[in-house]
Symmetry: D2
């Protein structure tokens, strides 16, 4: 994905595994769209009533993935604890949504595809969380000056 | 805000303080736009170099606020632990961004306004977090059926 | 809304009716959330099948409103023709979604509220479109230098 | 991209070139992130002052691309004229942003990458616009019932 190259070509790079961050950003973007497409397709299914929770989790997951991808694109100078919180929330959203979609995967191809996108995104979020040192961002506390 | 009335008029309501959720949603939307306007205004300031971190935190905070407001609009059947994670992330984003903006508030009215929007949003996120019972959503774990 | 004050306090102001822009931005944000809340509430209605188109138009309208509000927050130096295109798209999204919701307004309070939010947003978009001079932005064509 | 498969596996398909829509959705998502990464990288460049317009156009383009991708994920029953408006706005955003980035492409790799993402996205938007029949969506005017 080209955003990766753009991120890699920025003047300042964090002491992080850039590839892991770029992979995660890409998976978030793909998961967002898979969730939205799944939600839309669910609306037309005959067993719609049993898919209501799936639709809601799809929409939630899409929004969290979208925001997470955007934060990952700006990783250079931000608040690493916020990044960690968001990536954790994203991993959770993907796990919950993916589990729900998995339950419908046999009957609906869009749920199967979405479950797989969620699985991949959760996995890549996990890798970022392992890579993010606990102390990353510690140099950027909102210090002094406003007591 | 009209979204509040729409949320209140939905057929099923959670066992939560609906007003607190609606207030939080409204504060998230207002904070998102205050952050974006602040980031944009910072770009034209003569002391831009000292505002770079402010711009990045503004943009991060705007994205987290936007996603949080969207999740709050869908609170009926979702994953409450995800909602909690997002509201926590949002409170953190607002605290960090607000603290940064506060440092520039004397010199830049847009930072002062943004700091105040962040403060209000963080406060309302905090109220939602206090109200959200730990067990809320416990009936919706991604259980069995896909081992 | 505080974003208004932030926008007004930016160092450079366009030759536009700032109040009209701020009103439009606020209406976009409110309409986005009313649409999302309406879509979510529709999912639980017994006559869900007749609300499928309403849900899709709600979700589309929410996304267009969200993007339009964000562009309005950055109005100082952008591409005014793009702003015009987006505000036109937003007015159209609100008109279509509002008309659909209006048809269900008697039976569903969330549709009535959403229709009203759409009407207000479309009206404010219309005012911005009338105010935006055709020549606004003409000084920013992507000219020369890359033939 | 997996969203493509999800879209293709939905129960109802429009009389459109599904592949063109999926390609466009994917390009929008990639362009959004390339724009955000470029804006972020620009903030750290020594010649920042000459990149202010680039940053704003990047942020605008990212928001329009994001909304367009979301609409494309829900193409089954929506308002085709709205889809057309958004894809046109997206093509315009990409053309303007791409032209600006092109001017900085020699000096900044992130601008070169972003210009290329914009070019591809504009091209794919153009293909969707050629494919969208003028009459598509004509069956969904917000007719009667609310005079």
């Amino acid at each position: 994905m080209q955003a990766l190259d753009a991120a890699l070509s920025s003047p300042k790079s964090p002491a992080l595994d850039t590839q892991a961050l770029a992979d995660c950003m890409e998976a978030c973007a793909a998961c967002e769209l898979a969730c939205l497409a799944c939600a839309d397709a669910c609306l037309d299914e005959p067993d719609f009533v049993s898919l209501r929770r799936c639709i809601r989790l799809d929409l939630d997951c899409a929004d969290v993935c979208a925001a997470t991808a955007r934060l990952l694109s700006r990783r250079l100078d931000g608040d690493a604890k916020l990044l960690r919180s968001m990536v954790e929330a994203c991993a959770r959203a993907c796990a919950t949504c993916g589990a729900e979609c998995h339950q419908h995967a046999e009957h609906h191809e869009h749920c199967r595809v979405c479950a797989e996108a969620c699985r991949l995104c959760a996995e890549r979020c996990g890798r970022v969380l392992r890579d993010l040192p606990d102390t990353y961002g510690e140099t950027h506390p909102p210090v002094s000056g406003h007591g």
